[in-house]
Symmetry: D2
Subunit: 364 residues, 4 copies
């Protein structure tokens, strides 16, 4: 399967930016999970554009659940979620048809779909599709939360400005769900906003690093080869538009340490075994060890900028200078946080369901 993810619990995405609708189908989810629309909407708002640091496109992201939910609970059958497209301005894009935007998917879409792709607004490649992903992921994420597995993401750095590190993880993860701009240190949040606004004024854009924690993850989940927990999570995370890197625990930084510094010593209080450090990011040998899972995701600067850029006329095969107009985000990293939370929830839930069975997610 291609635009689907997961074996035991799976999510399939569909839709184009300027088509009728976008949506997702969740299959394999346990029956008896309560649907909390307030929770889902809150997650969609985290993903939605906010104020001057985001695109001018304003959409309610009103989703409709077509199936799989009855009397307020999941039935255990596929849940189809649809979000209609309403506020679309297709004329903005027509001129761009033969002029691929640098670092967008315009040219690769052309290569793969031979000119049949819906080119309006990025079509199926549009970040807008992530609204469906967030809606689907939120149902799963809340179910995980009720099982004691909490997921939270902050902007670890934005164009060089760094947030403080995760500290008391339980408190930090809880705090993040109340923060529309997910930065733990308020001062740094202001600096980051300033960076975004500066980029906006320059007609430019910025990216950053998101750091995600999964706490409460049971030990013993994942496979030694191929379906490692890192492999499965990264597979899901790389489908979030703009992601160029994923690292776990100490990540790339671990390559500058000695083994004696990098290793996580075991300690016990006589009852349970933990590690005193967590350079492994909660995963050893592809399998969760009961410590928090920590991953960081590199999000590139939004490719839509208002500065002139080199491109090519595909019709005439000539070089030209491209000036993009329209509504665009000077940064998407604060919005991407909701998407990362969603895909991590999907990946983790699938691995848990594979290990403990389909019903596990709804068991009290």
């Amino acid at each position: 399967m291609k635009n689907s993810f997961g074996n035991s619990i799976s999510v399939t995405l569909f839709g184009e930016s300027h088509g009728e609708a976008i949506g997702a189908v969740i299959d394999g989810i346990a029956p008896g999970i309560e649907i909390d629309h307030e929770y889902i909407r809150a997650r969609l708002i985290e993903r939605a554009p906010v104020g001057r640091i985001s695109t001018g496109r304003c959409e309610a992201d009103d989703y409709e659940i077509l199936s799989g939910v009855f009397m307020g609970f999941t039935t255990g059958t596929p849940i189809a979620i649809v979000i209609r497209n309403t506020n679309t301005k297709s004329r903005d894009y027509e001129a761009l048809r033969n002029t691929p935007r640098p670092s967008h998917a315009d040219l690769t879409a052309e290569e793969k779909y031979h000119g049949y792709q819906d080119y309006r607004g990025g079509g199926h490649f549009s970040g807008r599709i992530t609204a469906a992903l967030v809606a689907a992921g939120s149902i799963i994420r809340l179910a995980l939360l009720k099982k004691g597995i909490a997921i939270g993401t902050h902007i670890s750095s934005l164009h060089g400005v760094s947030d403080r590190a995760f500290c008391k993880l339980d408190d930090d993860v809880k705090a993040l769900s109340a923060l529309p701009f997910p930065v733990l240190d308020g001062e740094r949040a202001e600096e980051m906003r300033a960076e975004i606004l500066k980029a906006r004024e320059m007609g430019d854009s910025v990216g950053g690093v998101l750091e995600t924690a999964v706490i409460g993850m049971p030990a013993g989940v994942g496979e030694p080869w191929f379906d490692t927990l890192e492999g499965v999570i990264s597979h899901a995370v790389f489908s979030v538009p703009g992601v160029k890197g994923v690292e776990f625990g100490a990540g790339f930084g671990i390559t500058e340490l000695y083994g004696s510094e990098a290793n996580d010593p075991f300690v016990t209080d006589g009852k349970t075994v933990k590690t005193s450090t967590n350079n492994s990011g909660g995963i050893q040998g592809g399998i969760s060890n009961g410590m928090p899972i920590i991953l960081r995701t590199a999000i590139k600067p939004t490719p839509s900028i208002f500065k002139p850029q080199g491109s090519v006329s595909l019709k005439d095969m000539e070089n030209l200078t491209l000036n993009i107009e329209g509504r665009h985000d000077p940064a998407i990293i604060h919005r991407a946080r909701a998407v990362i939370d969603a895909v991590v929830a999907i990946a983790v839930a699938d691995m848990l369901a594979m290990r403990f069975g389909t019903d596990w997610l709804a068991e009290k």
Copy 2:
């Protein structure tokens, strides 16, 4: 499927470090691919321990192909490869049974397999299993090479010492296959070796970053969501033991650039379209754009060190100090290069076969 990878072309791994044998089964490979044992053996030698910078365990890695090859060519049916274990010293490990080694998979294996795992020498988690992965990957990699798709990996950095960047990619990739210690700049190679030997003397270990290039990759391969080329490749790469991060193109570094710096402008010579930079690492919107695919992999320092470390007696649930003995690598990064080449070949070939059909790989 769990310890398998791939949809159209797949590889399944089996075996334990001190069991009868390790091996792999390749399924879905096209008929008519010539088997070049010299090529496979050369790749296994790249993975094998070399001299003082590696473990003292010396094994010929003699593989046997049990099926799927007839008269020197692939038949198109599953290829089973078996490598017998010969030089095993199981007594080294028995004492460790109840004392998990930090940052090894001993404890997670216990959690997942409830004490039934083969604990000798890391069992199914042992790096030794990668010999089977290299053998399987080499068959696929050579087939790709005959289709004009070349894969090469160098040590981009080792414990802080950096190799020069990729330059003329064709030449660099070709040069790498002749280098047992895969570093492009000879002087830096010596510095890196010195770092490894220093770590060895200290009873410690070092890690580093591998950089891989895939050249000749056709445009238009990959899916927009979930089965993105990055997602599929990273899924495979994270199953290589010790990998803690994967990044494509400019990777995490891209987060410090402006969009105007990060975007890859298109240029044409009137016939084909390329990008003048390759911060995207050859992938846009999850799909190959015809430029070289560039990825970097963070390899942690080998967890087996000879310094005392904190661990726990699982029997008594008491803290203790662990001293590991036996044969171990002060670094595996130079050996991991062959494994990364192999898994990237497997992932890329599967995506190509999915796109162009099963026979494509053998078509002249």
Copy 3:
């Protein structure tokens, strides 16, 4: 994946009989396939209830395509199809909640979904969901037809009344698409209708055998083990409600022949090789041999009958006599034909795409 089918081309189903909507998502379909709404609607009409031999529930089956189609052609991205539920009478079913209907899925749904299932009108188990399957399958089936692969199904027997055997396959398959009641011999069609009406008058129901031909199938498609063409097709066909058996070629009848009678001798006209008989049903060793693929499907009598039946009160755990009311089909076999055509198209197209690549289906 659970309620999905296919690897390279896949279909995911969702929806409940009395929920908001039913639908399907097709993924992996080639770009550039023309969408012919007249063709799709004609197939939906084949599945729709007709006159007195069917249920009184009357629905337009108006589908909406939400994604994956642009300017009248498939884009290559997932196609989401939605059919709203309009004519639902939920009150009919409430009384039945604690009284499972014999040979329906009421009790198994209870076992699997622990009471959270949408019990109205069979919920997710309803034959109504096959409307979405037919819509999705029709898009694929027409694409196959343009590649020279035609699929057709007739009622081979109905409650003991037999149609004539397939004869000139090309003509027969073509003829079937014009027949709302798919029986090749007009007189037998009348006898079958009479059987259905007789069952209706008795408050009873009848079933039958559908025979399907796939003509124009290229040789060499299928796998020797597990993903045999028979295995993949039967996997799909058994998900059509009411199917209790699937056989290929001479099927169960072959067990009464000697090998010398059962074997299909090869013959050549100097250019191509055929078999002079087709007891193999176009498949040998799991792989298509270029002859027509022939399969027969046993469809059980509709389980909804108006005669008193033994059931159980799940609340009181007491035996009782159940009298079903509402709108029901005395036979579904004539409607099931469209569903069989659809799932066979999906299964065959997936195997072709796996073999020849994603774009094959749209290649001229």
Copy 4:
């Protein structure tokens, strides 16, 4: 995946009749399942040729387990099983290379593998590969048995001679494991043997119908669409060479009943709910209902016969008469029983693991 089956528990097959070895890899099996070599060998003996009613090829089917078993128990990691080929006479087949044997896979292999297939003795299509399937399936089947799920198969009919129907299922299934020629009625067994010997004398072959019961299957396993229990089981069963039809419960016979005759009324003893008949074969809506699962499989007469048959010279594209020599079975149905038992075990165990989690199979 192609020559693999299963999602949570999977089996991959490899090998050619006259190659080095055949074998299987089981992945996803729970740790802690005891390996009972006596049980496995007994199943292999059921599959092995016996006396005059089978082929003259005599092989010990000595298997070796290379991995995944430690101290007599499954470790939870992939189990690789290898059976060496010893008694091969390749010369018998060389003359046949350009002359496909009717109703064998010779021609389809040629179509799929373009002449690279190992043509000796049927290569990868050989029934010999089922020895590996039986070995793998036996490990899983015994684990199921310890969970109270027993599988048994008898020859329901052979070339028109019928065994008595299943009666007291528990006793019958138990009795079958002691019967080398699996027929419940001893007199009928003799008649069947006589039929086989008669066919042998004529240089001909016979087929028949196998009937399989799975008792002790928990209710609630299977999916409503696509991954129905029937669909998944039939997918597996059709990969057994020679199978041309699969039916569940009343199967094709149900098409001649009225709904009132076909429906299975529910009855309760105040504690549990059963059906008083089992025309559904233990499955309703694709999901197990707690009644025994009953399926019947049509096995065609062995295609290797010693009578002259029409074939074609692929080299000269001319019609010719083929006379097959060598060692062949006049019937394989009594041997196929062990293979059906094995694949049914694999399919059922996968569905159970998907539903209840990986460890379920080993839980006491």
